[in-house]
Point group: C2
Chain length 222, copies 2
């Protein structure tokens, strides 16, 4: 499939792009608001893949342009930008395309990180509310440490939770996620179950910060 | 140490009582609002331990009576009872005693289970607000499946997150928790980090309900 990663120049976008390009046969392209920035980063990713003798290329372009060519569009952008990002690419999406939301809202205080629940109920819900008709929204890739994902030397051995109200889209995205070596995709139900998944990310950071030897944590359900 | 488990006749209380009695040298007693109910259940637990050739006895009694003899009091009661439970035993606690809160609030809808965040901020916070002066509050044992915990044939291999604003109390409770075979205690920071931990419990149920072969799930941070 053709997968576009909006915000693919950022940390989590980089990790998803590199892993999908390295481990799967999908065509991966990254988007940015500035085409040139995406193109430069895509060249860096391709160079890294080449240095590992991986025969895969990542391309880049402006968000709407890369979304137009993709069946799956991953919104690897900050939570306060997801609504705008969907609107910016809405005209480029076709019915049957899928939007994937990995973002979560966090705030920090003296004790650590906390889930910053949006008024809409969840970041994933903001995406669903902004999505054009006929475009399914799936939540996935929420609880992955960006640095670990982007480091192709690092083993994953963790789970990603997949949620959505369209079972076919959810299964498709779960299959894509499981193409990444060491990543198990688990079904966590409908979009309404997003807050607890998004709230797991600040918890992972708090656990990493309070225990020596733990960092870039993921989670395994067992 | 002497550990009293209020609500020790319930599912999660049974699991904590059996595991602590089976795996550690701590003195375990369970409490109920009715002394006789606690005594009957304690005899059942002791019989089960004997049937496994484990030389440990669980005793039972009325909540305030068992709290009076304990250094650690675990509040294995429903979230809407924790405030009352603390008040009922407050006079029985001495400075230096510890209250441990494993409860979480949940509500259910068509999509699954959701975290029902109390107005106070968390169930753990309700306990902290009700605790007598000099009694430290620690959150622990939140994300453990009761049936798995109570089944001594079941391997755990999962983590429990420990939170608290009193580092000594937190360390003491973490040590007690790690006495349970297969349970790793991780420090998740201060009491203010409770909501994300309490919110993990409904997520575990949602994941178990949506994936064949997964049930009584726990979580491992890795």
């Amino acid at each position: 499939m053709r997968i576009a990663i909006l915000g693919g120049t950022g940390d989590i976008g980089q990790g998803i792009a590199l892993r999908l390009a390295a481990d799967t046969a999908h065509t991966v392209t990254i988007g940015s608001r500035e085409a040139e920035k995406a193109e430069t980063k895509a060249e860096e990713y391709t160079t890294e893949l080449e240095s590992r003798d991986i025969d895969a290329a990542v391309t880049g372009g402006e968000n709407a342009a890369v979304a137009a060519t993709a069946q799956i569009v991953v919104l690897a952008v900050p939570p306060y930008h997801v609504g705008d990002a969907v609107e910016a690419v809405a005209e480029s999406l076709d019915p049957g395309d899928m939007l994937v939301s990995p973002a979560t809202g966090m705030k920090r205080d003296d004790d650590g990180f906390h889930y910053h629940k949006p008024g809409a109920g969840s970041v994933t819900r903001i995406v669903a509310d902004a999505a054009p008709e006929g475009v399914a929204v799936v939540g996935a890739f929420h609880n992955l440490a960006a640095a670990r994902l982007a480091n192709l030397d690092a083993d994953l051995g963790v789970d990603t939770l997949v949620i959505g109200d369209d079972d076919d889209a959810k299964r498709t995205v779960a299959d894509v996620a499981e193409g990444i070596e060491g990543l198990r995709a688990l079904d966590a139900g409908g979009l309404a179950n997003a807050p607890e998944i998004e709230g797991l990310t600040p918890l992972l950071i708090n656990v990493a910060q309070n225990n020596d030897g733990l960092h870039d944590l993921g989670v395994r359900f067992q």
